[in-house]
Amino acid sequence: MGDKTDVWQGTLALMVLKTLATMGAQHGYGLARRIEQTSGGKLTVNYGTIYPALLKLEQEGAIAAEWGASENNRRAKFYTLTRAGRRLLAKEERSWEDTTAILARFLAPERAE
């Protein structure tokens, strides 16, 4: 384990959680679009990759899913953050900050040169 997709999956999960936390209930398509927008178009991945990530989070109990009607009155599966999901998000956010802080220290001197 530990190849690129895993890293991507991990960060994708964090993005999903964060997006759900700020936007509330959202369906898979909406999440994919939102993540794309938030990244300023820099992240262009297949929308489909979001679904295994959603399933994993659902299995962990971080998110819950329910079928409902979309803004255009279309049937869609909506995901919401659970309490466990909020805790997980807080934890992941901290750990991401730690990680980036550490990485930043490694990368900073190089930039200074």
Partner: protein, 888 residues
């Protein structure tokens, strides 16, 4: 991992395992979700002004490879290894279902083999492997006296006391002897099984009562209080499990005994023969006081650091010292020390091992059979496997597929085998005669238990190894291209024929061993059941009468009772003759006495003879043959000079070329009261078991040697079983306090005697194994020959086209079969003689190389093999050469 992480992982695992079961629902839901995703994206694209086709195309591109995503989703949704295994199992089940005949055959064959093996293993485990339920049972010993004629003889109480005092090898030595007790109940007297033990008996075994207390030191002395412990079952059955029973009193044979405790539920002591009331010895009976009267057995616990052999040597020294000290009573009395387990299961041990051997051989045949079946199947699937390999299936996946298929077979077979074994054990235990069952308490409630399941697991693993290895070996020789090209013909067909032929030889040889074993056991059983009895066993019925000694203490009372019983019985319609005896024929050599002849030099040797106290009509009622002199009559009563009838063996041993009638004999010191005159010689009546030697015997008039415990034997004109109720009723009418038991028809009693029972059950069981083995072996042979013949169809066509006659083809096939059968039979014969030598001790009057049996068995197997090969040979010979040549 943090707490959340762990919880998350656990939840995920659970969900994924759960996902195994809601496979379809999840796929449907994902499809719906993706559909709604696409629809929303297409709508957005349309809104941005794309034409419909382009809108959909763009949406699909953005979504990415749907199948790859579904695969990822699927793998996330479940556990791939488990998923694959489930797929394998499904595939295996489907494959097996495609050829249900083969699958069912393989499973049934395996279940039969394993089931027989596990059934016997259940007995072996319960009797031989499970330790006795005592503290440190390996240190417990059976201690008895020993005679040249009787290696395991009873211990006299006086000797026991000396042995106990003098030995330095045991931490404790205890004595016991069994005997009936008359229990007074509100519904009259009932005979119950009892046992007398010395005070430290339970401490020596390491058994503590679950209720009340154990016997205390000194309580077995003649002056000690009358106490009894009861077994758990007796407590439940007779006293309703009432805890207040401790401290109450019961009347046993006319004496009040206080119940002081209840023995544990799991307590068992096979030599007690199902005793319900355990009392203390109180050595005050006539026999207990005489050093020459042997009535007990000893049980001892070995001191730490002492071996059984050292203990035996030490006890022999003590016995030798006593021999010098008391030459009159102790001449020739040695000591015997052996593990307690030996006297409990020693008799059935060789039979059980024999049966386990037989069942194992059957299992071997069964496994070989299943392997052959699987090999044939692998052959016919070579093409399929080659295609799968060519399409990119990994070797590992193919191997796993084989193993899974074997595992499914083995699991189903083993499951069925456990069911068979459970039923088999219950059936066989149920068939054990109840008297014999009392000496085998460890078989009580035998059925599937942990040990049997573990045994099944081991066998299943081995079988799994064999079954998956066989096809793999054959398959690994395959190469993909060849497999696809020729559709399973050619080189590997030959390879299979070679392997198949070897397997068949193994099967036939094993079947031969089992058949020979069964044949020898059958012959031995026949010999045993037809051994000369010395009397006419048909139309005889018996019942045993025991009177409470206390009620018949007055002089003449016991004598009177015997006469009354005899008269009552004789008066019943349908009874043609009546006799009484102290011991029934075909029971045991024992209840002996030492005799000495008047007017002959005597140097103190012990002339040990069976003593039977019988009524005047007894020998005639049995239908024994009088050789010379006369039987005694009613006139030979207590007031008359003592008389005795001897058997022919005694006459031959002590009066060679001499007429013993008129000679006199007495006890070892020729006490005046013991002198009796020989009035007749009777042809040997088999007093001991069927397989035992005839011992010299003396028959004394019951009137001159009265006893309150005797067997009534009646000869009937009609069915002897029908008379028993009337007989019992007539005796009960005489005196309500009499114990009446042991009702039996003599012929059945002989059939059910331990020697006959063991021999018969082993003969039948091994016979059953052999029959199954014969069928499996012959079917195996048929399979190989039929396969071989079908492989050679083209060859046959060519031969016939070139002018070979049908008979030549016939001969060709038969020769192939004949060679296999012959090799199998010859190898089997060698194995059979070896196996028979191993079981020589179990054969009665039958040598292990009994030519008639071996020849018969070989002919039987050869004949069956011939029949099995004639069918494919016929088919091969009757093919149309044109068709055969076109067949490719």
């Amino acid at each position: 991992m943090t707490a959340i992480g762990i919880v998350g992982a656990a939840r995920r695992t659970l969900a994924r395992l759960g996902g195994l079961f809601r496979h379809r629902a999840r796929e449907r839901e994902l499809a719906a979700e993706l559909e709604s995703h696409l629809a929303m994206h297409v709508e957005d694209n349309l809104r941005r002004g794309l034409p419909p086709d382009e809108a959909r195309r763009q949406a699909l591109i953005a979504l990415g490879g749907v199948e790859a995503m579904k695969e990822a989703y699927r793998d996330q949704g479940t556990v791939p290894l488990v998923e694959h295994t489930i797929q394998d199992v499904r595939l295996a089940l489907r494959q097996l279902g495609k050829s249900p005949g083969l699958a069912v055959t393989a499973i049934v064959v395996l279940a039969l083999g394993m089931g027989s093996c596990l059934t016997v293993f259940g007995f072996v485990e319960a009797a031989l492997l499970r330790p006795l339920p005592y503290r440190d049972p390996g240190r417990l010993l059976a201690v008895t006296e020993s005679l040249a004629q009787m290696p395991r003889a009873n211990l006299s109480y006086e000797d026991y006391k000396d042995w106990k005092a003098m030995n330095t090898v045991f931490t404790s030595l205890e004595a016991y002897n069994t005997g009936g007790q008359m229990l007074s109940t509100p519904r009259g007297a009932a005979l119950v099984r009892g046992i007398r033990v010395s005070d430290g008996f339970f401490r020596t075994l390491g058994v503590t009562p679950i209720l009340g207390r154990d016997f205390a030191p000194g309580e077995d002395l003649p002056t000690g209080p009358r106490l009894t412990l009861i077994t758990y079952r007796t407590w439940q059955d007779r006293f309703g499990g009432n805890r207040q029973v401790v401290g109450t009193s019961v009347m046993l044979s006319g004496t009040a005994h206080t119940i002081i405790g209840v023995l544990p539920r799991e307590f068992q002591f096979a030599p007690s023969e199902g005793a319900e009331f355990w009392t203390t010895l109180h050595a005050d009976g006539g026999c207990d006081k005489r050093r020459g009267c042997h009535s007990m057995y000893g049980v001892a616990r070995l001191k730490d650091g002492v071996t059984v052999d050292q203990a035996a040597a030490a006890m022999s020294l003590i016995a030798a010292r006593l021999e010098q000290q008391y030459p009159d009573s102790n001449r020739g009395q040695g000591a015997r020390v052996e593990p307690l387990a030996d006297i409990i299961v020693g008799d059935i041990r060789p039979t059980l091992w024999l049966l386990l051997g037989g069942a194992s051989l059957l299992l071997v045949i069964a496994c070989v059979n299943v392997v052959s079946l699987l090999l044939v199947r692998t052959e016919s699937r070579r093409r399929e496997l080659s295609v799968r390999l060519a399409l990119g299936a990994s070797r590992g996946r193919i191997v796993r597929h084989f193993v899974t298929e074997a595992a499914v077979l083995v699991a189903l077979g083993a499951g069925l085998a456990l069911v068979i074994a459970d039923a088999g054990m219950r059936l066989l235990v149920g068939l054990i005669p109840s008297d014999m069952m009392l000496t085998l308490p460890f078989l009580d409630g035998l059925g599937i238990n942990r040990a049997v399941v573990a045994g099944a697991g081991v066998v299943a693993l081995v079988a799994l190894g064999i079954f998956s290895l066989g096809p793999l070996l054959v398959h690994s020789a395959n190469d993909v291209r060849a497999g696809m090209a020729d559709g399973g013909r050619g080189a590997s067909g030959h390879a299979w024929r070679r392997i198949g032929a070897k397997l068949v030889v193994v099967e036939l040889a094993t079947a031969m061993i089992l058949l020979a074993g069964a044949g020898l056991l059958g012959r031995s059983l026949y010999r045993l059941l037809n051994v000369e009895l010395g009397f006419r066993a048909d139309h005889l019925a018996t019942v045993r009468v025991a009177a409470p000694g206390a009620l018949f203490e007055k002089p003449g009372a016991a004598e009177r009772l015997a006469l009354d019983v005899e008269q009552r019985a004789a008066a019943l319609p349908g009874i043609t003759a009546v006799g009484l005896t102290s011991v029934l024929p075909v029971s045991f050599n024992g209840n002996t006495t030492w005799i000495r002849f008047v007017g002959r030099p005597y140097n103190g040797e012990h002339n040990e003879v069976n003593q039977r106290d019988v009524s005047p009509g007894y020998l005639a009622a049995l239908g024994a043959r009088l050789v010379s002199g006369r039987y005694f009559t009613a006139a030979d009563d207590a007031g008359k000079p003592k008389v005795v009838v001897i058997n022919q063996t005694l006459a031959r041993t002590y009066f060679p070329n001499q007429d013993p009638v008129g000679q006199r004999l007495g006890d070892t010191s020729l006490t005046p009261g013991s002198i009796t005159e020989i009035v007749g010689v009777v042809a040997d009546v088999r007093e001991g078991g069927l397989s035992q030697d005839i011992w010299p015997a003396v028959y004394l008039p019951i009137a001159q040697s009265p006893d309150t415990d005797f067997a009534v034997v009646v000869r009937t004109a009609q069915d002897p079983a029908a008379i028993v109720p009337a007989l019992t009723a007539a005796i009960r009418q005489l005196n309500g306090d009499l114990g009446i038991f042991g009702e039996a028809v003599i012929e059945e009693r002989i059939q059910m005697s331990p020697a006959a029972y063991l021999q018969r059950s082993s003969a039948w069981l091994v016979g059953g194994f052999a029959a199954v083995a014969l069928i499996l072996g012959v079917v195996g042979l048929y399979g190989v020959i039929a396969y071989s013949a079908s492989q050679r169809t083209r060859e046959m066509g060519v031969r016939m086209a070139l002018g070979a006659g049908r008979s030549a083809v016939y001969r060709l096939i038969l020769r192939e079969a004949g060679t296999l059968a012959l090799v199998g039979i010859v190898v089997g014969l060698a194995g059979a003689v070896a196996a028979a030598t191993f079981m020589r001790k179990l054969l009665f009057d039958t040598p292990p190389w009994d030519v008639a049996t071996l020849v018969t068995v070989a002919a039987l197997l050869g004949g069956a093999a011939l029949v099995a090969s004639v069918i494919p040979a016929r088919r091969a010979a009757s093919i149309d050469p044109i068709h055969a040549l076109r067949a490719e």
